[in-house]
Amino acid sequence: MRYEHSDTYLPPRSNEAVDAVVSRLVANPAILVQLGGANVYAHEAPADKPPSGKWIVVRERQEMGGDIETMSGLVSPLVLVMTECRRGVLSGAAARTWHATTHDLVAADILEQTITVTTGVASMPRRELRPSSAMPDADDDTTYSTAGYRVTLSAEVAS
C-alpha cells in the first residue's frame, strides 16, 4: 500500500517535545547548579554564551528530507540533549567528568518521567543514544557530548 497525505492531522509537533524537556530541566535545581545558571536552551544556544561557560542545548534530530508519513499520525522525534562546556572552564578529565555527571542528572530527571506537551500526549522518554564522548568543538572553543531520547507524541486530530 502507499501512504497518502492526509490533512486530518496537524503538522508534526516535535518541537513540543523539545520544549517540554527544556521545561523540566530548567526546573531542576541540581542541573541549574551544575550549569552555573539557567542555561538550558531549546534548539540552539544564544550568540552570547552564558558567563559560566556551561550550558545544555535540547533539540530534535533532523533527518534529511521529510518525516515518514504514518497512518497513525504518531510522531516519534529523537530529542537530542547536548551538554557543552568551554575548554577554558573545564578541560581533560574534569570536562569528561562534568559531561558525564550532567548527562546523569538529565537522565535522572526525564527518563521514564511524564513530560507535558501543549497538544496531545507524549510517551515517557527513553534513552536511545547513550552520551557520546566529550568532543572538541573548534568553532566555539568548547567540548560537547550528546545523548538522545525518543519521545512519541500522539496524533492531534484537527477539529
Binding site: 530548567v26 526546573a27 531542576n28 535545581p29 541540581a30 541549574l32 547548579v33 550549569l35 552555573g36 545558571g37 539557567a38 552570547d48 554564551k49 552564558p50 558567563p51 559560566s52 561557560g53 572553543d141
Partner: protein, 181 residues
Amino acid sequence: MTYPDMCTIGSLYTGRCRYQDESYGFALQKSADVSVKGGGLLFLPKTVAGLVADLAVSVTTGPASAREKQTGRTSKVERVGGRSMVHVEWLDVAASTTLGTPGAPTVVSNGAGAVVLTWDPVAGATSYQVQVGGVNAGSAVPATATVQSLTGLSAGSKQFRIVATDGATSTTGSATAHTVT
C-alpha cells in the same frame, strides 16, 4: 596602560588601534577607533570600511582573550579580500560597559528550607549578591555564574532579589516572591 585580563562575553570594549595598511604596496601607519565585543568580531570604523574589502586583520597585542578570539575570526575578514595585510595593535582598551540592573530571579525549591536561584547575566557586573527580604543571603557570586543555592531558610513567603556590583557601584533588581517549604 592596563588591559583587562579577560574580555567578558557580551561586554563592549572600545579603544584606539594602530594598524599597518599595505594596500598601496608600501607600509602606511594608520590609526582608527575600533570596538570589540568580547568574544565577538572586530569592527573597523566606517572611515576605513572601503579598505576592509582588501585587507586582512590580525590583532597582535592586547587582551589575551580578545587576541585569541580575533585570531580565530580573522579568516572571516580574509575571505572578503585578503590581498593586503593590516596589523592591528590595541593601544587603549578600556571597558566601557555601564552596570545594568538585574532582572527578577527565578526561584526553584530544592527541598525543605532550600532554594536555588538563577538570573540573567547583567552587563558590566563583576559579582552578584542574593538578598532575601532585603538582607544579604549566602556568599557573593562571581560574574562567571548566575546561580546561587540557599539552605536553612525558614518556611514561608519571602522576597528574593539580586544585587549586581561592578566593584564601584551596585544596582538592585526587582524581587521574586517565593514560598519556602
